[in-house]
Symmetry: C2
Subunit: 386 residues, 2 copies
Amino acid sequence: MRGFKFNGYKEGKYGVAIIYSEVPAVTSAVFTKNRVKAYPVILCQNLLKKKDRFRAIVVNSGNANCYTNNGMEDAIKMQEIVSSLLNINKDDVLVASTGVIGRKMPMDIIEDRIKKAYSKLKEGNSLEDTAKAIMTTDTFPKFIEKKVGEVKIIGIAKGAGMIHPNMATMLAFILTDVAIEKKDLDKLLKECVDKTFNRISVDGDTSTNDSVFVMANGLSDVKYKDIKEKFDRAFLEVLNHLAKMIVKDGEGATKVMEVIVKGAKSKEDGTKACKAVINSLLVKTALFGGDPNWGRILAAVGYSGADFNPEVVDIALESNGKSVYLVKDGKVLADEGSEELKKAEEIMKNDEVKIIIDLKIGEFEDKAYGCDLSYEYVRINSEYTT
Amino acid sequence: MRGFKFNGYKEGKYGVAIIYSEVPAVTSAVFTKNRVKAYPVILCQNLLKKKDRFRAIVVNSGNANCYTNNGMEDAIKMQEIVSSLLNINKDDVLVASTGVIGRKMPMDIIEDRIKKAYSKLKEGNSLEDTAKAIMTTDTFPKFIEKKVGEVKIIGIAKGAGMIHPNMATMLAFILTDVAIEKKDLDKLLKECVDKTFNRISVDGDTSTNDSVFVMANGLSDVKYKDIKEKFDRAFLEVLNHLAKMIVKDGEGATKVMEVIVKGAKSKEDGTKACKAVINSLLVKTALFGGDPNWGRILAAVGYSGADFNPEVVDIALESNGKSVYLVKDGKVLADEGSEELKKAEEIMKNDEVKIIIDLKIGEFEDKAYGCDLSYEYVRINSEYTT
């Protein structure tokens, strides 16, 4: 990627990744809506109000730097260490953190990791090591590269638990060499985050640290306006890919569901219904158990607040090219002993299942991604910290 | 209890309880707000619009009679069987069901259970057998008796999974011999349900069948108006006791939390904050693991929508007469290695833990009850049905 350097180093619980742009890059970001915000989030929000272009992002894993004494000082200290190594201005450096809340940052360790990440950065780029350095309970690194003609887009993310609309303990970094204006980048990022990271959920909790950053350094000399349509599509695909990988790697997740709600009265109703289904613990455990329990799906839509008449809806399952109606025109087809139930049970054995709900009351559609709830989720989250 | 008969019979998955009043009893009820309502709920809502007094309630476990073909016919059939056995009018009989959604009612079995429950009813009253007959994944029967001078109040409930504000797959039946007018009973029930059953959660799902019924037959000859204050208090205690038992018996629950939010800007803010904490999977798994993870508590309050400033709040734990501040005036006391953290870990070992959050931004307070999320919850709900 023209003009970007990135690498990372992790040892034990703590890792650091550094992203560096050789020229000031137009930068946009969206952050958690939680009222409790980690210090790096507050710091970046303030920096982004002041200026549009940045040179670097430093990210640590292992500690969220949230709700600690002297947390702002520690975030600024990270800026200082990185800016001095890279020989740039302190305020050209953005900061992100992920990990345990409410523990003081172990700044000695973080400084050590920053230096080691910097050494690796000098040797060359590694998408994989950058992604690995920011993992917490993630089980695999998440990254993607895409080309739009001469232009490149790179995406790196971490996720795992606490993923929820809106975007919880997830970090994502998008780098591109397209030449784009700040207002266009802001708009594109907001739209695409809303369609991707804000449509996924692992456990319904919204974290204090979620951030999505995008840096565009313009070094391809290709103007965004000239490739807008293709670029927008590729950008959305990058975010969508990262979002799906985050769900797939949801803490303890063994299966992924894509919930599509059609025929909703409004966009909001479609969203509410999707989100209620992906967040329902009963649907999530049914998915884990491979049980095509459409009753739980219907009940979740029922309490979602979306307007509909249960007596006309369709509910279908789809996976690997096979599909089956559980409910059609409000009539239960997947009753005990039915062929439909057998087929549905087969479909539910797959790793990725589409649940399609047609409310038949309007023209709107929305979708969301979720995962199952397993023993492993409970193990991870009852054993994490202390 | 003067003038009430009640008993139940359960065999295998299916049970039936019958409650009978010798005279027409003033009856109030509140029902699920889910848009998908089970047929008995629809039937009872219609009956209660037409008249104030009823003679009997028949309740079955094992099948929710929700979203099935011919579900309304089956609910009416239950009315018919019971009214003919008791020699009363069909429309004097209310119906409730709990169990699997979307399976046709096995009416042969239900009829058999109704007849056996009726035989037991003729022999005498049993609170315990009534409560046992309506259990699904409950591990113990839930009932309570209370006296207010000459007046008695009896409460019977079933709960277990899917308990959520507002009131999910829970059924409760309150019987009293006080003489009370319909409008007073409606008001009292609504107020007390809001303070009790609407303040508990097991998994955040709201069911299609939740119902709370109260029958008052007036046979004590004591007028409600004459003992209002005492009666109100006792009535609230009965509902509160049942609500707490339901949480305690939440599917797979090993521990109960009482979350108290003080100093909220409005009643609604207090409610939002309590409910976010009891429903947070991360708080629930931390409770299961005995981890005083106040960061997760704070994050849940943060995304609850309640107004507050994280930099001034207190968070405390309390159990068995011991208490400790995790956070005081926005400062973390339970940092790694601290005495507070040790004390907090001790407190978290108890079966019942109070979490007290003072937002210090207003005068309002609310509380809610929740339980932990265990391996057993996942097992029960991934193996249930099919």
